[in-house]
């Protein structure tokens, strides 16, 4: 193990990078969720379909505070226009840009510039963009904006420990979001007609979940013929190669923590690494059928709690020396 160059990283910067990446990953995933909700929208029961989104984000209370009926329109506004909703896209973008401003000495000019412009465009969305077929285009623009950020970051951001913290935030958020995407099935309505009809409808929904995760084609390549829903679950949870699978995210997190410990001599990485062990054991000790049979929703809930613990362990290990900065960053975690 060789020690890296002596480039100290302010704990505040490390925390900022971690959270900037999380917020942006969240924007991309929320756009994916909205897109898939739109696709799932059960004719005649649109409002119920959209309320699934509120439930998987555990936003029932926050939404109720608005005092509005849970209509499809109100929920779209809640996530796409309402900056006072801490889990909304404008709130996440505000937070990401705010943090990016504090990180300007560190991040590349191109990263800052793209984010600055993206933030401006997407926090002034015209309500008309939420209607009809425009919504899907809006989601596409949101995804593309984050992907542009990701690409610029990949190509311009210096690869010292700051990069590792940035990746940690991104991957933990991604793992969390994949569990939420999977959970959407739990909250969704399935036509109660005949068995075959039900099976087909379910498969269509799983297909849409895969598409939202950009995993549809990859899944088809590796799925057995005559695949069932549990193959989809297994794919999104434990596929070793799919970039949004919880397993791959967790393994990359483990690698990143290992780098912090080995290359940069940050011994505090040990505790979060122990958490990773537990996460991996929970993820891989049971086959997907068992997980589904025992209750997927409960499993995903537990997984989300483990990820929160992991994040807070990372906070304690590396940001602890920095006075607590961001109440706003905890809102989601404690929600």
């Amino acid at each position: 193990m060789t020690a890296g160059r002596e480039t100290p990283l302010l704990a505040r910067y490390a925390e900022g990078l971690f959270w900037m990446a999380r917020y942006l990953e969240r924007v991309e995933n929320l756009a994916r969720l909205i897109d898939v909700t739109q696709t799932f929208e059960a004719a005649g029961r649109e409002d119920e379909s959209w309320f699934a989104l509120v439930r998987i984000n555990a936003d029932e209370e926050e939404f109720a505070r608005r005092g509005e009926a849970a209509s499809a329109e109100a929920i779209k506004r809640f996530y796409l226009l309402d900056a006072t909703n801490p889990t909304s896209i404008p709130a996440s973008l505000n937070a990401a840009r705010y943090i990016a401003r504090t990180l300007r000495p560190l991040i590349s000019t191109e990263m800052w510039m793209q984010l600055n412009v993206f933030h401006r465009d997407m926090t002034s969305i015209d309500p008309i963009s939420l209607a009809g077929d425009r919504l899907s285009r809006l989601c596409w623009r949101l995804k593309e904006g984050v992907q542009a950020h990701t690409g610029i970051t990949e190509g311009t951001f210096f690869r010292d420990q700051g990069w590792l913290f940035y990746q940690l935030g991104r991957l933990i958020e991604r793992a969390d979001q994949t569990t939420r995407l999977l959970d959407i099935r739990y909250h969704l309505l399935v036509p109660a007609a005949g068995r075959e009809e039900r099976r087909v409808a379910e498969l269509a929904q799983w297909g849409a979940v895969l598409r939202a995760a950009a995993g549809y084609h990859a899944f088809r390549r590796v799925a057995p013929p005559g695949f069932t829903p549990r193959d989809v679950v297994a794919f999104l949870l434990t596929d070793p190669d799919f970039p949004r699978s919880v397993r791959l995210c967790v393994e990359q997190v483990e690698w990143l923590l290992g780098q912090l410990r080995g290359r940069y001599g940050l011994r505090a990485a040990v505790r979060p690494l122990e958490r990773i062990e537990e996460l991996r054991a929970a993820l891989l000790s049971r086959p997907a059928d068992r997980i589904v049979a025992d209750g997927l929703h409960q499993f995903l809930d537990a997984m989300q709690r483990d990820l929160i613990l992991l994040a807070s362990e990372i906070g304690t290990a590396f940001f602890r020396d920095w006075r607590p900065l961001a109440q706003m960053q905890e809102q989601r975690q404690t929600a």
Binding site: L9, L10, A11, Y13, R101, T102, N116, Y264, F319, D321
Partner: protein, 486 residues
């Protein structure tokens, strides 16, 4: 074929003012004329379109400062005028020497007043102006400062009168800002108007960060091999935050906020992912009052408790040193020609604007008798606030100024209106003369280095003499021509 655009300089008339572009100056190697011709070839419409694009780029890059009104904070760009100001090699030689001389005198003065105060004892400057000054820091008395450098970063505001004479308007010896715009304006010019610059031999401005870091390294406490330099900023809500980012990046050092630093056993550390790490030089962009709540303002959340103690122990260097504000006070300014002569035995290379000191009976009487002709300025303010320009003021404004003067004469100085030089500036009605000033920046560790050129600020309003960014000022790229080839 399109007709050639009409010459946008056709109606340009600088009137009685010295024009920084069209006035013929020896030894400019035809550069000014070349620039004028090139602007003419681009034409007004294209020039406007490109200027708009350039300003959009500044917005997107977030090269902004923040303006606070009662309820809101708005990010603004410093308006950018695309027609550069040209400084000849000969002019620059004089300016550079004048700035170096001035910085040397400021440092001698500070060293003296914080040690034996001979200048007061010898009756060159009233003791009251020095020791009664709100910016005089008793903590500094007999405190050793490396190389005798108190003012490491200095910005000197210079104007030019109708005869083309350079005059110093003001010294900024605390935390002068604006240097980031000097460099960013040049970058913007090379991206947006490469055709204006092509082939001209200009002094580069890119060296600032390296020079600054070098000086910060020089002034670190003795015995530290590889000093850790940081830039201390009040944070993203400060109006000059972009500049702090710029400077930290150009030096390649962390931009820290007060909460990133901690003092233990009279040593300063920053909080990193690997725990605490020693800090040796702090370029602070926080006023003296806010540096250390245990010594100065107890309500300051921006500073670092214990910082002054660590500094007094010699464990950390501060730039600029605490207590430099006494030297850039507008009342002390009036004595600068005498201060220069006293310490350096030379006449000032750059003259002052004639100044009446209202704390003195003569100065007050003269000011009160000529309010309509004079500019009246409060001694402690910056940013162009509180100024009354006699010839432009209404009856009521004159009387308000008179009342303020009589209430507290010592708070005021007055100066004749200087016919500030102008530069051709792109306006809604075409290319028109607008008044300019220049703020060169000097960096001093062991020695003084002056960034070629400086920040040219331009009063965008017709006839306005106030160039401050908070009051409708913009900026221009400042071109210093290389010495002519032999």
């Amino acid at each position: 074929m399109q007709p050639a655009p009409a010459d946008p300089f056709r109606d340009y008339n600088p009137g009685p003012y010295f024009c920084e572009l069209t006035r013929a100056r020896p030894g400019d190697g035809d550069a000014a004329e070349t620039l004028r011709r090139r602007i003419g070839m681009i034409g007004l419409d294209a020039l406007r379109a490109r200027a708009v694009a350039a300003e959009t780029e500044l917005v997107n890059l977030g090269i902004t400062f923040t303006v606070y009104s009662e309820a809101s904070a708005i990010d603004r760009i410093l308006p950018f005028d695309c027609i550069p100001r040209v400084i000849t090699a000969a002019e620059w030689r004089r300016l550079e020497a004048g700035v170096q001389q001035r910085v040397a005198a400021l440092n001698e003065f500070l060293h003296d007043i914080y040690h034996r105060a001979l200048i007061v004892k010898n009756g060159v400057i009233p003791g009251e102006l020095v020791f009664g000054n709100a910016n005089f820091r008793p903590e500094m008395i007999d405190f050793p400062v490396r190389f005798g450098t108190y003012v490491h970063i200095c910005g000197i505001d210079i104007v030019r009168d109708g005869a083309g004479e350079f005059l110093v308007l003001e010294d900024n010896a605390r935390t002068p800002s604006g240097v980031s715009y000097v460099v960013e304006n040049r970058h913007l010019m090379s991206r947006s108007f490469p055709d204006l610059m092509a082939g001209l031999r200009l002094r580069p401005v890119d060296d600032y960060g390296r020079r600054l870091l070098h000086a910060m390294t020089e002034i670190a406490p003795q015995g530290v091999d590889d000093p850790q330099v940081v830039l201390l900023s009040p944070g993203i809500y400060n109006s000059a935050y972009f500049e702090h980012v710029f400077l930290a990046r150009e030096m390649g050092v962390p931009l820290v906020e007060g909460a990133d630093l901690v003092v233990e056993d009279e040593r300063v550390f920053m909080r990193t992912t690997a725990g605490r790490r020693a800090v040796h030089t702090i370029y602070r962009r926080i006023g003296d009052d806010f540096l250390d709540p245990t010594v100065f303002r107890p309500d300051s959340l921006l500073g670092v408790p214990g910082l002054i103690g660590a500094w007094r122990r010699g464990n950390v260097a501060l730039a600029n040193v605490v207590g430099t504000g006494v030297a850039d006070d507008k009342a002390v300014y009036a004595y600068m020609p005498r201060i220069i002569r006293y310490y350096l035995g030379e006449d000032a290379i750059l003259a002052n604007v004639q100044t009446h000191i209202c704390r003195e009976a003569d100065g007050l009487a003269c000011t009160l008798a000529n309010l309509e002709q004079l500019v009246v300025k409060p001694v402690g303010e910056s940013g162009g606030y509180g100024i009354t320009i006699g010839p432009r003021a209404t009856r009521a404004q004159i009387e308000a100024a008179r009342a303020a003067l009589l209430a507290d004469p010592a708070n005021w100085i007055s100066q004749p209106v200087v016919s500030l030089s102008v530069g051709p500036t792109l306006t809604e009605s075409g290319i028109r003369p607008r008044h300019l000033d220049l703020r060169p920046f000097a960096v001093t560790g062991r020695e003084t280095w002056v960034l070629p050129g400086g920040l040219t600020r331009v009063a965008l309003k017709e006839g306005s003499l106030v160039v401050n960014s908070s009051q409708g000022g913009g900026s221009k790229d400042s071109w210093v021509l290389e010495e002519p080839l032999p």
